[in-house]
């Protein structure tokens, strides 16, 4: 088998088309996916729920703030998906339809307005984030935090202005309205001036002088310190709080999804291409009869072709992943399960090959039918979706009986850990063993007639 394997590799090396394809394929896929993944981020889709009653005016310290304008500004930076309830928002986050949700509670405006009053309350907005995709979740966090920081800055400026005006009244005196009644405030500076005037009129030995001096000192110190309080108030910058909740979900990021699909399809494409191509070569070169005339057993010959396909496919896939590694970070430690996956896949392909190959000789049209069936099975196999996706359709149990499910799950687990289902792996292993046994039996029973036919 070793010499046949070396021979096939040598022939591959001298076949410009095959070699070119095997070299170009991982490069093209890596570059295409790499560029696709590294392009500028699109606005994240975020569910938006505004529970504030419509047309509620927002005034802080007599200044009117534009709530509709704030929403418009928000939706310019993210793709707002309007929802009608928190439950709907949560469902969309869990399903991966949106990357996060921003919920403005009904009492938001009241609490915002209270900031400029005498009994301030802390307004809070709710944010739901799906952190299954940390990159996108981070992006949503950043966008929402940035928007809230801007809102907080504007609100805090208004609150600060109002507070400063109150302080100015206390400091310098003026008119103040409270519960609809106008109140005239004397002011600390004016109080000090009045007190100094009174002190000048008192005799030098007056017993009230000491107490009056104490009041004057207080007025002076209070005026100086309140004068600096305006700067302190302007530093209060985060009136709106964020109540963040992480919602678990199973939706992968575009990056991992694309890499998983590319890796799986590459493995299958190259394996099938090489196994079929190298077997066709033996037939084209009329070498099959010569080889199987005692030089190599038929099973060993098929095994060698499968080994060739798997070895080259793994090399090509690793090259492609290394290329993708230039664009995105890959955790190579998560690829360990690929080894049993490759062994199981090789055994399954071997078994199916033993069943299908002899039948193709008897029924020529079967070759086309197999291509068609394989295409259908491709969509029926959890390659571009996970077994967990079938859970929603209540097909998870039956889906495990597709022998590729457990195998593909092991491949996908490198990217999506939640896709590793040991029940499906056990079913795949069992079904693969059955298919190999059936394949050997079919092959043994038909090989004589097959050789006569070809």
């Amino acid at each position: 088998m070793r010499w046949l394997l070396l021979k096939d590799l040598q022939i591959m090396r001298r076949s410009p088309l095959v070699t070119g394809l095997l070299v170009a394929y991982p490069i093209v896929i890596a570059v295409l996916i790499g560029f696709a993944l590294s392009r500028g981020p699109e606005p994240p889709r975020v569910a938006f729920l505004n529970e504030v009653p419509p047309d509620t005016p927002l005034e802080v310290g007599g200044e009117s703030l534009d709530l509709a304008g704030a929403k418009s500004e928000l939706c310019d930076r993210i793709e707002c998906v309007p929802v009608s309830s928190e439950e709907e928002a949560r469902q969309k986050v869990e399903s991966g339809d949106v990357l996060g949700a921003l919920i403005l509670p009904a009492d938001l405006v009241d609490k915002l307005q209270s900031l400029a009053g005498l009994t301030p309350e802390s307004p809070t907005v709710k944010v739901l984030v799906n952190e299954e995709d940390p990159v996108k979740a981070g992006l949503v966090d950043d966008r929402i935090n940035s928007l809230l920081a801007e809102a907080n800055l504007r609100i805090s400026q208004e609150v600060s202005n109002v507070s400063t005006s109150y302080l100015q009244i206390l400091l310098n005196g003026g008119d103040f309205s409270f519960l609809g009644q106008g109140i005239q405030v004397l002011g600390l500076k004016r109080s000090e001036q009045i007190l100094r005037g009174i002190r000048g009129q008192l005799p030098a030995d007056s017993p009230d002088l000491d107490e009056l001096d104490s009041v004057i000192r207080f007025s002076h110190l209070a005026a100086e310190n309140l004068g600096a309080a305006g700067d302190l108030l302007s530093s209060v910058s985060q009136p709106i709080k964020i109540d963040k909740e992480v919602v678990s979900g199973d939706t992968p990021s575009l990056d991992t999804f694309a890499i998983a699909v590319a890796a799986t399809i590459t493995l299958m494409f190259v394996t099938v291409l090489l196994v079929a191509g190298s077997l066709a070569l033996e037939r084209e070169e009329n070498a099959f009869a010569r080889l199987t005339r005692g030089l190599v057993s038929k099973s060993a010959l098929l095994g060698e072709k499968v080994l060739l396909g798997v070895v080259v496919a793994v090399v090509v896939t690793l090259l492609m992943l290394a290329g993708l590694g230039l664009f995105v970070d890959l955790d190579w430690g998560r690829f360990a399960l690929w080894i049993p996956a490759i062994i199981l896949q090789a055994a399954l392909t071997f078994g199916l090959g033993l069943i299908i190959a002899p039948l193709v000789v008897f029924f020529r049209d079967l070759e086309r039918a197999v291509k068609l069936i394989l295409r259908l099975l491709f969509y029926a196999s959890p390659i571009i979706y996970g077994l967990t996706d079938l859970k929603k359709l209540h097909l998870e149990f039956w889906g495990a009986f597709n022998p590729l499910t457990g195998i593909i799950g092991m491949y996908r687990s490198a990217f999506f850990p939640q896709d590793l289902n040991w029940f499906a792996v056990a079913v795949s292993a069992g079904m693969t063993a059955l298919i190999v046994v059936a394949g050997v039996l079919v092959f043994r029973r038909t090989i004589r007639t097959v050789l006569k036919e070809i």
Partner: protein, 250 residues
């Protein structure tokens, strides 16, 4: 006198191969019916017959590609080398690499020595590093035969070896094959080319519908075949062959 339908094996110390009562069935069709023959060392035996006579089936049984339903094959002096009808070699490998690959698969003792020997025998030593696909059909067929000779077999089976070759290539091929027979290799070849069988074979085995109709020399065949009016007994061999088959209902 007609030849027996099944040739009787002769017991001879020089015998290289002996087949008796070979029968092979494919489904309902009987491809070979109790065919037997024997060939001695260095003998050139042609297996001839119309299409579907069972020539390739007989060679595949002798080569071990298929197993007979009945009958025995006795090889007292060693291995059988088989050369399929179309060159069974890898066109993207060089001449030497093809020989080396099959020598390794044949598990010959000294691979390089066997390769060198075959390169000399095929007179292709100067083209050892050329890819097989760049050789002419005749040279490819010589490599094809050389691969069959790597294990130094006592008997070489050639399935229609000259098909697709031009007259010059055929001539060089037969020169090579005659050289092998001269060195003691028993050569059994099937052919559609009756003239080729007449020219190169020492003995012919005539098959029709899986049945052995004749086993003997060319002269004996001429004697056995019915003579057309006005034609000498040793006349045109192809015409004699057609008449022989017609006389036997084929």
């Amino acid at each position: 006198m007609d030849a027996p339908s099944t040739a009787s094996p002769t017991q001879n110390a020089d015998e290289a191969i002996e087949a008796t009562g070979l029968t092979k069935r494919f489904g309902d069709r009987l491809a070979l019916r109790e065919v037997g023959f024997a060939a001695t060392a260095g003998e050139l035996l042609a297996v001839i017959g119309p299409n579907g006579a069972g020539k390739t089936t007989l060679l595949s049984l002798l080569a071990g590609i298929r197993t007979p339903d009945a009958g025995t094959i006795h090889l007292p002096r060693g291995e059988v080398g088989f050369v399929p009808q179309q060159a069974a070699l890898y066109r993207r490998l060089t001449v030497a690499e093809n020989l080396r690959l099959f020598a390794r698969l044949e598990e010959v003792d000294d691979v390089e020595a066997s390769v060198e020997r075959m390169l000399v025998q095929t007179d292709l030593a100067d083209r050892r590093d050329d890819q097989a696909g760049t050789l002419s059909g005749g040279n490819q067929q010589r490599i094809n035969i050389a691969i069959g000779l790597l294990s130094d077999p006592a008997v070489l089976l050639l399935d229609e070896p000259s098909t697709g070759l031009d007259p010059r290539q055929r001539s060089r091929l037969w020169e090579f094959v005659l050289g092998l027979a001269g060195r003691g290799t028993t050569v059994i070849f099937s052919t559609h080319n009756i003239a080729e069988a007449e020219r190169y074979a020492e003995r012919i085995l005539v098959l029709a519908d899986g049945q052995g109709l004749f086993d003997g020399s060319i002269e004996a065949f001429h004697a056995a075949a019915p003579t057309a009016a006005g034609e000498a007994a040793a006349g045109d061999f192809e015409s004699a062959f057609v008449r022989f088959l017609a006389e036997h209902g084929h």
